[in-house]
């Protein structure tokens, strides 16, 4: 059902939407326009003069092996964050869906990580995994595993993937749990009576029935991993060691703010912007189809 409010005149409605419009303008439209403009310019070494260079920044970007490496790295990162965050959430949701003791406490605990700010989450993981003081980090070294994510690029990647996935598990958990609970109990029972084992039921009944939620979550998780993990990476590895945890978003930051290569950084932002727009469009189309 649709609820409509009818206003007399235009002043009040205009005032009501004004804050949103101002925010959108200053924090989205204006910077986006600046980014598009900067991506078509090149600055001199001192950042004083800039000249219009057309699509040269973009051409350079796609010819830059470091950029292509970052693309591949980001795809790997996004893939593992999505898979881990979703798989763990699904397993936890399956347990929570069962009749178990202390179910409510268990659910509340699982939802907490979502309330933790990304930077804090990063710090938590650093404190846990630090090779000198972290509980797990020290433990790993004592076990004879040479653990130092500040030197080992693979370990650094593992850390940012785990920290990022951990943040997203709660969100996925809530959606998976809701989806599981919307499956009528009698349908599962009918399958039991039909002779289906637990695994077979999961494959033939549960998974297909939660497929819409799964698809929705894939989109959300991909967007999250690709664009929303900056703070987590900044708080843990800062993209290092070397470039081993430098995702596309982090590269924008490094190239633009740290290395002051505004033209290239802007071009990267524009590419990312296009990516976000495409994924969002896909998501909207899917949601429309569903409703």
């Amino acid at each position: 059902m649709e609820r409509r409010t009818i206003f007399d005149g235009w002043l009040l409605p205009a005032m009501l939407v004004l804050p949103q419009l101002v925010l959108t303008f200053f924090f989205f439209l204006w910077p986006a326009a600046r980014a598009i403009w900067s991506s078509l310019e090149r600055q001199d070494a001192f950042g004083i003069n800039s000249e219009f260079v057309g699509f040269e920044n973009f051409v350079d970007l796609f010819e830059d092996p470091l950029y292509l490496e970052a693309v591949v790295r980001t795809l790997i990162f996004v893939f593992f964050v999505t898979v881990i965050a979703m798989a763990v959430a699904l397993v936890l949701a399956i347990f929570a869906d069962r009749e178990i003791r202390g179910r409510d406490i268990y659910r509340t605990l699982l939802i907490w990580p979502y309330a933790v700010a990304p930077a804090i989450a990063g710090v938590l993981w650093v404190l846990l995994m630090d090779p000198n003081v972290g509980l797990v980090g020290v433990g790993l070294n004592n076990m004879g595993i040479n653990w130092d994510y500040r030197l080992n690029g693979f370990q650094a990647m593992l850390l940012v993937i785990l920290a990022s996935a951990w943040k997203q598990v709660s969100y996925n958990f809530i959606f998976f749990l809701a989806a599981l609970q919307s499956i009528p109990k009698s349908v599962t029972e009918a399958a039991r009576i039909d002779g289906a084992s637990e695994l077979h039921r999961f494959r033939t009944i549960t998974l297909p029935l939660i497929a819409p939620t799964t698809f929705f979550l894939i989109v959300v998780n991909v967007v999250y991993a690709a664009f929303d993990t900056f703070a987590t990476i900044a708080a843990t590895t800062q993209g290092g060691p070397g470039r081993s945890t430098e995702t596309l978003v982090f590269k924008v930051f490094r190239d633009g703010i740290v290395n002051v290569n505004i033209g290239s950084s802007s071009a990267q932002s524009v590419v990312l912007m296009v990516g976000v727009i495409l994924i969002t469009a896909l998501q909207f189309r899917f949601m429309e189809k569903k409703s």
């Binding site: 009918a190 039991r192 289906a196 077979h200 033939t204 009944i205 029935l209």
Partner: protein, 355 residues
């Protein structure tokens, strides 16, 4: 075909004792209908037999083999649920084939069995549809089909027709009856519906508070209810039950207002003044002058007959079923037909037969 026996079957959820010892024995191919008030444990009983719940104690024997601890998959029992519980994402064909595929039947076998069941149930044209594209009656048939293709040892029905409209219910009732007769599959059928209770089963089980109270043919339950609970439960509108005392020599019942009803079938045991409850069905009260005076509260014309609900002098509710009448006065006098009187003990509620 298989026999089904329940021996002292009990089920508690925590401190709630839902089933308090059920003994039952079904012959091969028999259909037993179970009725009882909401919450008396009918569904729980079926779920125990199906294996969806584990009994607290007792045995469930299918063909002499105790299956109480087995998984539903190993019991070879099919169940039809009240809400059908079809697999929403599968076609009608796949819904019916699901259990057969698990059993590893060949493609041809599955196709043939599903096709046969679909033809029997008039689903032939709907095999490619999903449940959401079906009407309630069609879903009900698919649920039936899913049960019969398996050719199980035992059928369980948990109020399968209660979500259908009246006309469809009549039709499906006849169909279930016909199918069960033809396939001769031992069946337990739970219902709230008086007509289903009377017509569907070979025998009728009335349950009350987790215990069976009467198990007999439907006519026997109707004509000789074992106690006041069964008397009030079977038959619509309910039997009128009134307190009374045993008259002189055990030959009659004396109602509270002094009315004397002489037993038509012989004396009842006990001392004069023994507390009784007498029952008379609404259709066995004749409007006639000189009988029990009732003050009419409500008139329900049902078309072919009319139900009149009123109160006796002492405030006791009475319903009377009479052939359709034009206008009904504010009071009427009714006479009890003694040959239809049911006599129960006033304290235990158990039926008291003539000696």
């Amino acid at each position: 075909m298989a026999t089904l026996q329940l021996e002292n079957l009990k089920k508690s959820f925590g401190t709630t004792h839902v089933l308090k010892g059920v003994d039952l024995s079904l012959a091969s191919g028999e259909m037993l209908v179970i009725v009882g008030a909401s919450g008396c444990g009918k569904s729980t009983l079926l779920r125990l037999v199906a294996g969806l719940e584990t009994p607290t104690s007792g045995q469930i024997m299918v063909d002499g083999r105790d299956v109480a601890q087995l998984d539903p998959a190993q019991r070879d029992i099919a169940m039809v649920f009240q809400n059908y519980a079809l697999y929403p994402h599968m076609t009608v064909f796949d819904n019916m084939a699901y259990g057969l595929r698990i059993r590893g039947l060949s493609r041809e076998d599955i196709g043939k069995r599903v096709q046969d069941a679909a033809n029997t149930l008039g689903l032939g044209a709907l095999l490619k549809r999903t449940p959401r594209q079906l009407s309630g009656g069609q879903r009900q048939r698919v649920a039936m089909g899913r049960a019969i293709v398996r050719e199980p040892k035992v059928f369980l029905f948990d109020e399968p027709l209660s979500n259908l409209d009246a006309a469809l219910r009549v039709q499906m009732r006849a169909e279930i009856r016909r199918l069960q007769r033809r396939m001769r599959v031992t069946s337990l059928y739970v219902t709230h519906d008086q007509v289903e209770a009377m017509t569907l089963g070979d025998r009728l089980l009335v349950m009350h508070l987790g215990k069976p109270v009467q198990l007999a043919t439907p006519m026997e339950v109707f004509e000789k209810p074992a106690n006041t609970y069964v008397a009030g439960f079977i038959g619509a509108p309910s039997m009128n039950l009134m307190p009374a005392k045993l008259g002189h020599g055990g030959a009659s019942a004396v109602l509270e207002d002094g009315h004397v009803i002489t037993f038509a079938d012989g004396r009842r045991p006990g001392q004069d003044g023994r507390k009784l409850t007498v029952g008379i069905r609404p259709e066995h009260l004749r409007p006639e002058p000189g009988g029990i005076e009732i003050f009419i509260d409500l008139v329900e014309p049902l078309g072919s007959e009319t139900v009149v609900i009123g109160r006796m002098k002492n405030g006791e509710l009475v319903s009377v079923k009479i052939p359709s009448a034009g206008s009904i006065p504010e009071t009427m006098s009714v006479v009890i037909a003694p040959e239809h009187l049911h006599v129960f003990d006033g304290e235990t509620g158990l039926r008291v037969e003539a000696v």
